[in-house]
């Protein structure tokens, strides 16, 4: 693949804050025209990475190229070619939806005529027309997020960075938001989005998982699930909490976690009968036990758990 096909390309990208490393030698490639989901627990370095890629933070080390522009050497064309939605609300509450868009359009130097047309387009695409002349402060959160997206995409940037765009948004608005993202990606835009919601991650073309400033996994949702280490079982048992504790005590259990009203238990070997026997001998009634294919959430929890255990192990070994 040639360099032009990567919309984001980083090498050894690092950012330190007073003795703590938020992003640690991150090397990442995101293909053009895809929706890239950036996952990871809070504080894993996702936002810091995005802020560096947008030119808001200077990297301490390493380099990054976004849409062909080196983020440190060509900040001006970089700014014109990206749209950014921060975690924080970034519109003027005392302006109407239309005024907010007019303002950002002017800031991106769009001429008045084309800008007016473009605002109409965005109104249609994001279904904003109904509240176009309302003050932004008065809108529900889902609407506000759509307006913020509208402001970020008004100048038709080839790259969009969206930092948790749907946090706090109700499911219906969330779905609508993702439909819009899909249509933008179909239109050729590259979207770099962070999320904590697994069914959103499921809709991405490609995922990257951050932990402790490192990229610990990357691939399509299907590939990540494929790479799930071990065998996953759905265990319906009573009493549930005791079952969970018992499962965690068993030496051959790789991982056990609560999942709705059942447990998800990971075994390195495909031996469900041994699990059933051990649980029942611990005084737990097993009503159902079957192998299932992992969801992204399983993959995510597993990846993080493995890392945490490795970190604890390294710490213990050092003593």
């Amino acid at each position: 693949m040639s360099a032009a096909e990567w919309v984001v390309e980083t090498e050894g990208l690092t950012r330190r804050f007073d003795g703590f490393v938020a992003v640690d030698h991150l090397t990442l490639r995101v293909p053009r025209g895809s929706i890239f989901g950036f996952l990871g627990p809070n504080g894993s370095g996702k936002s810091t990475t995005i802020r560096m890629l947008c030119g808001l933070l200077k990297p301490s080390e390493g380099r990054a190229v976004v849409n062909g522009f080196d983020i440190e050497r060509h900040p001006e064309p970089l700014r014109q070619s990206l749209g950014y939605m921060s975690q924080r609300f970034s519109l003027y509450p005392d302006l109407t939806v239309r005024e907010n868009l007019e303002f950002y359009g002017g800031v991106y130097d769009l001429e008045p005529g084309p800008l007016a047309e473009r605002i109409e387009q965005v109104f249609d695409q994001l279904r904003l027309r109904e509240h176009g002349n309302d003050l932004t402060a008065a809108l529900p959160l889902g609407w506000k997020q759509r307006v913020a997206l509208g402001a970020a995409m008004l100048h038709q940037p080839p790259v969009l960075f969206l930092d948790e765009p749907t946090s706090g948004v109700d499911p219906a608005s969330r779905r609508m938001f993702w439909e819009i993202l899909d249509s933008l990606a179909v239109g050729g835009a590259s979207i770099f989005v962070t999320t904590h919601v697994m069914d959103e991650a499921e809709r991405c073309d490609l995922l990257g998982v951050m932990y402790g400033g490192h990229l610990i996994a990357q691939g399509t949702p299907a590939a990540l699930k494929e790479a799930f280490p071990g065998f996953l079982y759905h265990v319906d048992a009573a009493p549930l909490l005791e079952a969970l504790e018992a499962a965690r005590r068993l030496p051959f259990v790789a991982d056990a976690a609560m999942f709705g009203d059942a447990l998800h238990v990971t075994l390195p070997a495909d031996d469900p009968e041994r699990l059933r026997r051990e649980l029942e001998s611990a005084g737990v009634t097993v009503r159902d036990l079957r192998r299932i294919s992992p969801t992204l959430e399983d993959v995510f929890v597993q990846l993080i758990a493995l890392r945490e255990r490795a970190a604890e192990g390294a710490e213990g070994g050092g003593r």
Binding site: E76, S86, Y104
Partner: protein
């Protein structure tokens, strides 16, 4: 420079200002309150100073001296029927009088002999401002009385006139130019202009910029192609406009309502106001650079406002300040604008006399404004 980006900021600010009824009201009310304070409440004119008098020489001359003092209208005579010298101390101690006059026996006799009669003045120095002013009023009254007595004496004894005619006479007749009535209103109301434009520039500007930092819109703007100086110039243009409108408003109220004389050039007043606004807006920008929250900006503003106003010559004459403070005023834009405003209002001056002040205002203004823009970092880290 990109005109469209700049105009977008200006338009946005105007739209926000139009909806910000509270700030608009403040723009209107603040000058009214300040004008009321300085027009009615705070006055450095001497009025109603409580004066106690002990007369041990009930002569017509002594009576006339007291009359001359009362004629200044600065004093309220406390009831002092049959007062004795022993009363003097208790008056001051209890605050019954702020200043006391003791005319001893033999006052008229000394006068008749051609000697200078002695009177004693005791004053409560714990309020040194009032004490000093009151003493000046008293001395003035005594001089008026003395010269009248002398003329009276010569009229009654024309034979003596020959002898006196040889002695050169100095007759002190103080005449205050530019503000002949010495009305502090005339002196202070123009000063309100300097005060309001400072509050507008420093406080409103820093609040407006810091609010964007708090809102998160500043971070959003940082990822757009807009330059810091376009943003800041765009934000300060409407403020400067508001400042000029307020200058006209205050000028009209001062002239029409408070009858402050307006003798000089109004166009020059507006040019100086523009230059002064460059200073105050620059101060506002500098404050916004170092403030992360609106509260911090507000505290920093009030911290800076105090010396800027106190040392401007608004309430206290610069010539009365210690030498180091006088040197400090050399870099204070408030000082120069105060001189311009008073020059235009009271002395009828214009560019011909006040151009040096205008030049200093321009230099300081460019330094402060550019300093504000350059130190404003576009990156939010």
């Amino acid at each position: 420079m990109n005109r469209r980006r700049l105009l977008s900021i200006v338009l946005k600010e105007l739209r926000q200002l139009r909806r910000d009824k509270r700030t608009l009201r403040l723009f209107l009310i603040a000058p009214v309150i300040q004008l009321t304070f300085f027009g009615y409440a705070i006055s450095t004119d001497l009025k109603g100073v409580k004066l106690g008098v002990v007369i041990e020489d009930p002569s017509p001359e002594a009576r006339r001296l007291v009359d001359a003092i009362v004629a200044t209208r600065a004093f309220d005579l406390i009831p002092t029927a049959s007062a004795r010298p022993d009363d003097l101390r208790p008056w001051l101690d209890t605050g019954a009088a702020q200043i006391a006059l003791h005319i001893p026996p033999g006052f008229a006799r000394a006068l008749a002999r051609g000697q200078a009669p002695v009177v004693q003045v005791l004053s409560d120095g714990s309020d040194s401002n009032t004490a000093t002013l009151a003493f000046q009023y008293l001395s003035g009254a005594a001089r008026v009385w003395a010269s009248r007595e002398r003329q009276d004496y010569l009229r009654r004894h024309p034979s003596q006139a020959v002898r006196f005619a040889r002695v050169p006479q100095v007759n002190l007749e103080p005449r205050f130019w530019y503000n002949p009535d010495l009305k502090s209103v005339d002196f202070q109301i123009p000063g309100v202009l300097a005060l309001i434009l400072l509050a507008l520039g420093a406080s409103q500007t820093s609040l407006m910029v810091v609010r964007e930092r708090e809102l998160g819109t500043l971070e959003q703007l940082s990822v757009t192609p807009i330059h810091a100086w376009e943003l800041l110039v765009g934000k300060t243009i409407p403020m400067a406009g508001a400042g000029l409108v307020m200058t006209l408003l205050i000028t009209v109220v001062a002239y029409v309502w408070f009858h402050v004389p307006l003798r000089g050039s109004i166009p020059f007043l507006l040019i100086a106001a523009t230059l002064y606004l460059l200073n105050t807006l620059g101060i506002g920008l500098l404050i916004s650079v170092i403030s992360r929250t609106q509260l911090q900006a507000q505290i920093t503003t009030s911290f800076l406002m105090t010396p800027l106003i106190m040392l401007s010559g608004f309430l206290f004459p610069i010539a009365n300040m210690p030498q180091w403070a006088q040197w400090l005023t050399v870099i204070l834009p408030t000082r120069y604008y105060m001189e311009v405003v008073r020059g235009v209002f009271l002395k009828g001056q214009g560019a011909a006399e006040l151009w040096p002040q205008a030049v200093v205002l321009a230099i300081l203004g460019v330094l402060l404004y550019l300093g504000g823009i350059l130190s404003f970092r576009k990156r939010v880290d």
